[in-house]
Amino acid sequence: MNRLSQIISAIAINLPALAAASANQPAALEIAFTGIETPTGNIMMAVFDSEMAYNGKGAPVRASMVAANSAEVKTTLEGLPAGKYAIKLFHDVDGDGKMRTNPFGIPIEPFAFSNNAVGTMGEASWTDASFEVNVGATSHRIVIQ
């Protein structure tokens, strides 16, 4: 083994350790919600840190409510470990805490996913909605339509 390959293998061995270390560093995620048409009620948001939890087999790591009192509102989630996340949200226009549907079960309050990912007659996939939150500050914009 020559010296160059020794250096490369040393970096490779240490990468998982570096990643583990950074996951313990606090990160801040600033989220801007734009395109709010009716400035009433709240943005109801759930943040997931795994595909399993996102798909309903686990709890969100954060759930928060942001007053939707103008066309664009922001919130910051402090102290998230760096890593991969996805967000589901709906705009609870009437403030009743529920996502309203019509009698056939079609949502009639605006909803959105991180990355502005979209689904076809359902939720966007984890693959499309997930994004990296890095050590330090990460910002993300979600258009509510």
Binding site: E37, R100, P103, F104, I106, I108
Partner: protein, 488 residues
């Protein structure tokens, strides 16, 4: 990928004022560049832009003195983009045609309904929104049915509002004069995105009943003559039948449940539907005043799209007519093939009358003629009647060549054949005088020889003599599905 690059959920487009921005209007010669295939395929050709209002040319006869009104017609007029084509005739973008007849003359204007589907597909220059026979494409967004609402099937004029109808989602409001799109009609906030069929039944006093289908459930809509929502109730159905139309008597709603069943919910919708003739056809009769009072009648299997108004006789027998097919080959396959220029022979729709007897038995009586688009005098909607207007004389093309008026009492047809070079569209009844046949049949044809759309007015008392007045447009427009006549 940045959020900006992502194709956005486009719900704001139909909720907001952005829909009020009109589509560009360009001149007809620009509109038709490169879109004039030969033969009957002209009936399913693409139109690329709106048609500004222009006078039509009187080519035969004259309009009876004092006659005035507007024929609104709707039909798909954009099927193909660089990124692929629609998979079914039913899935093209709706274009509303406005034929104004007054002072002995006529004008034509046509404008696309500016739907979220059309906006997205224009932006992508691709057909991506799924439908009856069209799969989803890359960039498709679907948070509810109205995202793929093509607003292409018929029209409703109520309480001064004009609506372009589809069947799987909301009506779309249009300006009755300019045809500018104003957004989806929401009858009540909790009923957004609910299905509203393109065949509302309008009573003589203007009351509207309609249906919307959702698997084994239906919503029943009732609007007052001013357009206000009077009732919206959901009910369970005994099977997941596909229905494009329903009918009514003065006292009943009649839901015909053909054995063409929605066995799976997937796109294209028609691929989740299966033909189960062994199950026969069921007819569900519901009392308008008490939707819990329901009866089911059994009939042999048939497929159908369209029904005529129904009525009840003094002994309680209920009758209605419709255009029934031996199987749904047309909707399943032939109507898709049209867009590829192929003519697949499908069983002819046969004008048939159904009788539902008080003892629970049901019978069918065939008129023995191939016919579609049944229409009748709306002054007798829900009441006993004798005549049914229709199109017919199917020959070498997939489309009819004649308009007729069938007499159920004498068992004969009074028809006018426009000839092989005309594809005949639906004719609707515009009343005059007091008798059931006192009126005009008003409709359009596509003249394949002259490559132009024509407007015709025929005396319902004397159909075989042909139009009393005919006008020619300066261009061919693809075939429409349905329309309404609004008297001046």
């Amino acid at each position: 990928m940045t959020p900006e690059m992502t194709i956005e959920l486009n719900r704001r487009a139909f909720l907001g004022s952005s829909l009020l921005a009109g589509a560009a209007i360009i001149t007809p010669d620009q509109a038709f560049a490169g879109s004039a295939p030969a033969g009957w395929t002209l009936g399913v050709a693409d139109i690329d832009a709106d048609i500004p209002q222009a006078a039509m040319t009187l080519i035969d006869g004259r309009v009876p003195a004092g006659f005035a009104g507007t024929l609104y017609r709707n039909g798909p007029a954009k099927f193909r983009r660089s990124g692929g084509q629609a998979g079914h005739w039913f899935d093209g973008d709706g274009m509303v045609r406005k034929f104004d007849i007054r002072g002995g003359g006529a004008t034509l204007a046509a404008r696309f309904v500016d739907t979220p589907k059309r906006r997205l597909e224009t932006k992508l220059d691709a057909i991506v929104q799924p439908g009856f026979g069209t799969p989803s494409g890359p960039g498709s967004t679907l948070s509810g049915p109205d995202d793929t609402n093509s607003a292409n099937t018929s029209m409703l004029h109520i309480g001064g509002e004009l609506m372009a109808l589809w069947e799987g989602g909301s009506p779309t409001l249009l300006d009755p004069q300019t045809l500018a799109t104003k957004g989806f009609k929401t009858f009540r906030p909790d009923l957004k995105q609910m299905p509203f069929l393109a065949h509302p039944r309008v009573e003589a006093d203007g009351t509207v009943w309609n249906l919307g289908g959702g698997g084994n459930a239906a919503i029943i809509w009732k609007l007052s003559s001013t357009g206000a929502l009077a009732k919206a109730e959901t009910l369970k159905l005994p099977r997941r039948s596909y229905f494009h139309d329903f009918t009514a008597t003065a006292r009943h709603l009649i839901i015909v449940l053909q054995p063409w069943l929605q066995e799976e919910f997937k796109f294209p919708l028609s691929t989740g539907m299966a033909w189960r003739p062994e199950l026969g056809t069921q007819v569900m009769v519901i009392e308008k005043d008490d939707l819990s009072k329901r009866r089911i009648f059994e009939l042999p299997a048939f497929a159908f799209f369209h029904l005529g108004d129904g009525w009840e006789e003094s002994d309680g027998t209920i009758r209605f007519d419709g255009c029934f097919e031996a199987d749904p080959t047309f909707g399943q396959r032939a109507a898709s093939a049209l867009l590829r220029g192929e003519h697949i022979r499908a069983p002819s729709p046969i004008l048939t009358q159904v009788a539902l007897y008080p003892n629970g038995k049901a019978q069918m009586q065939s008129a023995g003629i191939a016919a579609e688009f049944p229409a009748n005098d709306k002054r007798v909607a829900g009441l006993p009647r004798r005549y049914t207007a229709h199109v017919g004389h199917y020959r070498s093309t997939p489309f009819p060549h004649a308009v007729g008026l069938w007499d159920w009492q004498k068992g004969r047809d009074d028809a006018y054949d426009f000839g092989d070079n005309h594809l005949v569209e639906e004719f609707v009844f515009a009343p005059r005088g007091g008798g059931e046949r006192d009126g005009w049949l008003i409709g359009t044809t596509l003249n394949l020889t002259e490559k132009r759309t024509e407007l015709h007015m025929i005396d319902a008392r004397n159909v075989r003599s042909g139009p009393v007045a005919s006008f020619a447009a300066g261009m061919p427009l693809p075939l429409t599905f349905h329309g309404i006549f609004v008297g001046a």
